[in-house]
Amino acid sequence: MTEVNIRKSPAKFSIPKISSNVWKVWRRNADVFTKTIGVNFLPSMLEPILYLFAFGLGLGNFIPEINGAPFINFIAPALVAISLMNGAFFECTYGSFVRMYFQKTFDAIVATPISIEEVVAGELLWGATRGTINSTIVLAVVGISGFFTAQPLITSPLFLLIPIIAFFGGLMLSSIAMCFTALSPNIDFFNYPIFLLITPMLFLSGTFFPLSSLPHAVQGLALTALPLTHIVNLTRGALTGTTELLFGLNTQTLIPLSILWITLIAAIFFIVSINLMKKRLTK
């Protein structure tokens, strides 16, 4: 008689084991991106231009200076942050869901020596890359627009750090997005995270008006629960050299705090999202 070995739950929570195979998954997405670069590039470029015109110049005319600089200077770093959020979040919600559910791309890949953990990790790295690409395009648009505004929009050489900030910020948002993808019964489900998380972040993270003008409690809440707040802190710091004064904390405290917050949340959600996806896809 052979002993019957009953396996424990197939999807036990664990630190994902990943190898350089993740880059093969990343390469697949990068290949698709470069193939359709025209459709990918133009919208990412036009959107910030519209924002700069509508809010910066149009609305900005009716708004007094914020911290001694025109309104358009206040929103410019936020546009960089928003573009990275959108790039990473949409890639790992709609993009990943379509590949997983409709195109069965993940099923095809896991029949090769690549594991499901590596597929998901590759998707997350690609999401981070999309965020980086998007925000770098916006950074360029903002930089060039700065030549035509009253004051330049980029005033600190730290702007060179934007791709690094974008990659890790993007990785955090991709990982959060992937959790929703793992839990979504269908593609319409994404309306929930968009209305409950993305839209509030879009307006309440010190983007289009100073977060410091809101009550202390709201500032604390934004710093605790809204990832975009921290990304805006970093992009604003990189482009202008200073952040807002939030919850009584100044730039010197906020920058390390935001770096720490992003690193921690990215690490947690990276692991959680891979485990959730593994649970969803291993039946």
Binding site: I6, R7, N21, K104, A108, A111, T112
Partner: protein, 338 residues
Amino acid sequence: MVFVLCFFGVGFINGCLCLAAVEWIVFSNKNVREVLIKATKLTKRYGGFVAVDGVDFEVYRGECVGFLGPNGAGKTTTVRMMYCFLPPTSGDLTVAGLSVNSKCREIKQIVGVAPQEDNLDIDFSVVKNLVVYARYFGISKPEALRRAEEQLRFFQLQEKRDMHIEALSTGMKRRLIFARALLHNPQVLLLDEPTTGLDPQARHLVWDAVRQLKKMQVTIILTTHYMDEAEILCDRIIIVDHGKIIEDGKPKELIKKHIGEDVLELDYDEAYISLLRQTFSDARVEVIGERMQVFTSEPYSVFEGFLHTHRLPNVTLRKANLEDVFLKLTGRDLRADD
């Protein structure tokens, strides 16, 4: 006396030679029959539903084994466990001595999979599909391109090389999926309903491919609903139903064992049944709608004699086939789709 001794002597030597020959055949057979896939009490449960129910089977190197069964019998689930797509709930399954519980990466390196559903990458052209897939196996780009072109030529898809996946017909997609499974020269090939939805030309192309791979000693697991296909291609048939193996053997032997050589088909008429029973002592008469089928182990001449004496309308005498076996063992009830 001398003659007798001589006779015995020759007989003895002959006997020795025969024994040696038998030994040699058995021994060399042992060498050939290396177990490549082995399932022991393999079980897959989804909540309360048991898809695969403690099956044991072995597949030898170079063998082509067909898994047959009605929808929902557990064929696809079994195949999916072989390439780690699904983890077994309990029991053991090894491929080339590697356990699916711990050696997935190694197993997937030597197994080629042509799944039932279309999971080609619609973001890429035909040739790019193959090249990207080869990259997942760590095959370098020039080598990937070379192999891709080779497969496209074999599956007669070179004209579609740069086309979009959506522009392909079902048959072309199935062929491309087959081609994709061969890029890394697998030792084991899992073909899950490879010819469903194909026209006869494409079906023969797939069969040709299977025959060539058999010559190259590739071990092939095939699931299909087409009994003629299984009969033609497979060395051995495993019939599964309700997650259990209900029969296992060579197609010809199974037909002989369960059905016999020939089957008589005629229009349904109550009056003939007793006549049939008289003529064919061990007859199994099955009524299907407006027709009757008579299964018996009587030799062909008995059929001929019967048909000669009784001139019945609409009679057909045909060879028994695997479909008769399948329907006898799994019944005629329709199954829900799996």
